[in-house]
């Protein structure tokens, strides 16, 4: 069992509060991704868990043991650094063996574990090389091998793929996911790449300005963001937000978007009832709109500004009132810039956002 519990942790740098009263529990063998834009405090939080920067307030428990003020080496953790931080003067073998040597693991066991880690990362033939003779991807593998050779219960990763080129990143993403499932360590993984977060994590903790915005499974974070920030940060393209006006017409509650009256789902009506006469944001993902090249009932007529064919889909940029939104269509949908199309918003795909609090309204 290696559950990580972060309780009300705050970390300041002078007047700047990098991590603000964060509480987070990572279950045993769980893979949690800390996701957020740069400067959101995700790396600071990870370093507090690692012991490389002590928390100012709050507690950190690993496996029920309070490690808040323990030095890193007493926490039974290992880590992969963003710059890999492999020791340039040691051969790959000694790099992987370093932690074991420091922990006085006996020679035979050390040898076995180094070989095993190297095998898992497919770098057995590099063991006699110096890091200066390795490519970026190989160094990355050495850094991961060094971390897993420790067989720690907790594995921390600080943007491990951010220094790799796009193709290698794609390959390592899948491989890391497989590897971590295999070794079954409790993992905290820091990244600013939302695709990495969605594809790898068991749960994602979305951070902003030192606080956690949402902490849930990737599909939930993607589908049901708690606020406008999460919706706008996750997904490529990010969620669209269209300005609307809540109105009561003939006893029926609708939201007026342009000339269109959108009818919310039944269970949303009580929540939107309080907003009558006030603006509301209609949040919808690019791929969730129905697109027609001819007038349809309950369709909003818009003009296409830009067409971006991406192969698997066509991405259209259209304008609705003051909002510019992205619409994903099937590549077979023939459309040119300046053409008129009709959009339909399926009520179950719409997330209604209170423009004042920016919170998404859920029943």
């Amino acid at each position: 069992m290696a559950e990580i519990r972060i309780e009300r942790v705050t970390k300041r740098f002078g007047d700047f509060v990098a991590v603000n009263d964060v509480t987070l529990t990572v279950q045993d063998q769980e893979f949690v991704v800390l996701l957020g834009p740069s400067g959101c405090g995700k790396t600071t939080l990870l370093r507090a868990v690692a012991g490389l920067g002590m928390a100012d307030e709050g507690r950190i428990l690993i496996d029920g043991r309070d490690v808040t003020y323990l030095p890193p080496r007493d926490r039974n953790i290992s880590m992969v650094f963003q710059s890999y931080a492999i020791f340039p003067h040691m051969k790959v073998y000694d790099n992987i063996a370093f932690g074991l040597k420091m922990h006085k693991v006996d020679r035979a066991e050390m040898e076995r574990r180094v070989r095993q880690a190297a095998e898992l990362l497919h770098i057995e033939e590099l063991l006699d090389r110096f890091p200066s003779n390795l490519s970026g991807g190989q160094r990355q593998r050495v850094a991961v091998a060094r971390a897993i050779a420790m067989q720690s219960k907790v594995l921390l990763m600080d943007e491990p793929l951010s220094n790799l080129d796009a193709l290698l990143r794609l390959e390592m993403r899948a491989e890391l996911k497989r590897l971590l499932r295999e070794i079954g360590a409790t993992t905290i993984y820091v990244t600013h790449d939302q695709i990495e977060a969605l594809s790898m994590g068991d749960r994602i903790a979305v951070m902003r300005d030192g606080t956690i915005q949402q902490y849930d499974r990737p599909t939930v974070v993607y589908d049901r963001p708690v606020n406008r920030f999460v919706g706008g940060f996750i997904g490529n393209p990010p969620m669209n937000f269209i300005h609307g006006q809540v109105a009561q017409m003939d006893g029926v509650l609708t939201v007026r978007v342009g000339h269109l009256h959108v009818r919310p789902e039944e269970e949303m009506i009580p929540l939107l009832g309080g907003h009558v006469g006030r603006p509301v944001l209609l949040g919808i993902r690019a791929e969730n709109m129905e697109v027609f090249d001819r007038p349809v009932e309950e369709g909003l007529k818009v003009r296409v500004l830009v067409v971006e064919p991406l192969g698997s889909q066509n991405l259209l940029t259209v304008r609705i009132g003051q909002d510019t939104i992205k619409v994903a269509t099937h590549p077979s949908f023939q459309v040119q810039a300046d053409q008129e199309i009709w959009l339909r918003f399926p009520p179950d795909k719409i997330r209604w956002v209170d423009p004042d609090t920016e919170q998404v309204l859920y029943p």
Binding site: P71, R73, S78, M79, A85, M90, H103
Partner: protein
């Protein structure tokens, strides 16, 4: 499709890009002119004696064929002498024997005109031009009973040349020209191989003994490579103590400096409160001249200096101790050691600090995270990664330790404890022997080069080995 045969591409003329060469040319000119040339000139003194051999010639003339060489110092028999007109601009030195001849016009006893050369000693000059050159004179009277009272006039300014006429004593003469002659000796001596050689040489190179028949080669006119100066350095009574002391100081100073410098650098790198101030304090000695440092430490170690006062104040000694005397050589060594450590450790520290700053923070954090304590991080990560910096510092410090000079002079006066650099100075100034001084300087240079080469070969970093 058929590949269409095409004409081979015209060979592209490779354009030589001159810009880099032009840019670097001043550097090479500078190096050659102000570095290589004077250094070679200086060092050649140690192995080249430019007055080693005296050339003997078949006749008393510069143009006569050479018959052999005599080494400097060879004893000679002088067999004859002859005067010879000097080439213009010749340097004569103190041994040269010269005489002056006048070209005169006069009338002989029969009233006929006579013109020719007469030695200066036969003419009394009566009238001189404003610039001092003689214009007129009279023939001197010859003393003695049996001699011909007349003075011979020669066709050329040499005794051996034919006589063209005779002048009566007291005849007035017009002096038209004067010639300076140098005496050449016909000498006989043993050459380097022990073979006797005989020939003519100018008097300026020969020291003649009192009996006028013997002499020695005072200096040569031809250079020769020699190990004489090196041998002289080797057998110098200060050579061994200088070498011993220089190495002793090196062995004391360098390890102390490196341990201290690494510790100081680590303290600064730890970014404690006020460590910036510490850096400035550490750097102060870099701004003090080495002689000033020597004097400073001299004032600490003198009989009524700081050290004695402090010890006396605290009652640790009853009377002042004499540290810097000939009887307490080891105290002088200790004082030089302390002064040099005080003075130059910061230099190493600056290099080490810059080396430390090049070590990525994440590497040290990784070491900490994987279980290394402070000592292990220094031992396994910091020191190995500092290797290139330490190598540079080590080369620099070793070379500077071989050159230690002013501090030693200030603390020992240069006699009780001497070092190699002090011997260069002593040979040059006190003994007036630039050749042996150059030999010492060359010795220091060779030691510096050997040590640099040794460090570069043995302390090679792993990355380089792998690459």
């Amino acid at each position: 499709m058929e590949p269409t045969p095409s004409a081979p591409p015209a060979p592209r003329r490779r354009r030589i890009r001159w810009a880099p060469y032009i840019l670097i040319a001043p550097t090479f000119i500078y190096l050659a002119l102000f570095f290589a040339w004077p250094m070679a000139q200086g060092l050649i003194l140690a192995i080249y004696d430019d007055e080693a051999l005296l050339t003997l010639r078949a006749e008393a003339s510069r143009d006569a064929p050479k018959v052999g060489h005599l080494p400097q110092g060879t004893h000679l028999e002088i067999q004859g002498q002859q005067s010879n007109r000097l080439e213009p601009g010749a340097e004569l030195g103190e041994n040269a024997l010269t005489e002056i001849w006048f070209y005169v016009r006069a009338e002989d006893a029969d009233g006929g005109p006579v013109a020719g050369w007469v030695p200066e000693r036969r003419i009394r000059v009566r009238e001189r031009a404003p610039d001092g050159s003689p214009l007129r004179g009279t023939v001197r009277i010859k003393l003695g009973q049996d001699v011909d009272p007349r003075t011979a006039v020669h066709g050329e300014p040499r005794e051996q040349s034919p006589v063209v006429g005779y002048l009566e004593p007291r005849t007035p003469v017009a002096i038209q020209e004067q010639a300076v002659l140098e005496v050449w000796y016909r000498v006989r001596g043993l050459d380097e191989g022990g073979e006797p050689v005989e020939g003519w040489a100018p008097s300026r190179y020969i020291q003649v003994f009192g009996d006028e028949n013997r002499g020695r080669v005072d200096r040569g006119d031809t250079g020769q490579f020699t190990t004489r100066f090196l041998a002289k350095m080797w057998n110098d009574r200060f050579f061994r103590p200088a070498v011993t002391n220089t190495f002793l100081l090196m062995v004391l100073i360098i390890p102390t400096q490196f341990v201290l410098a690494v510790v100081m650098a680590l303290v600064i790198q730890a970014q404690l409160r006020g460590s910036d101030l510490l850096l400035y304090i550490y750097a102060i000695p870099l701004g003090v001249s080495d002689l000033a440092v020597g004097i400073l430490w001299f004032s600490i170690f003198t009989q009524h200096g700081l050290l004695n006062s402090v010890l006396y104040q605290f009652g640790l000694i009853d009377a002042p101790t004499t540290y810097l005397s000939a009887e307490t050589k080891y105290w002088i060594i200790v004082a030089v050691w302390l002064a040099e450590v005080w003075r130059a450790t910061s230099l190493v520290m600056v290099i080490v600090v810059s080396g430390l700053q090049a070590i990525p923070g994440e590497v040290l954090e990784a070491a900490e995270l994987f279980g290394a304590n402070l000592w292990q991080r220094v031992r396994y990560i910091t020191l190995p990664l500092l290797r290139p910096s330490l190598q540079v510092a080590l080369i620099l410090r070793t070379i500077l330790a071989l050159q230690v000079f002013a501090v030693v002079i200030a603390l020992s006066g240069g006699d009780v404890v001497t070092v190699l650099a002090n011997e260069v100075y002593r040979q040059y100034t006190e003994f007036r022997n630039p050749n042996v001084a150059a030999a010492y300087a060359g010795f220091i240079l060779v030691l510096s080069m050997i040590s640099a080469f040794f460090y570069l070969r043995t302390i090679r970093s792993h990355q380089e080995v792998a690459g």
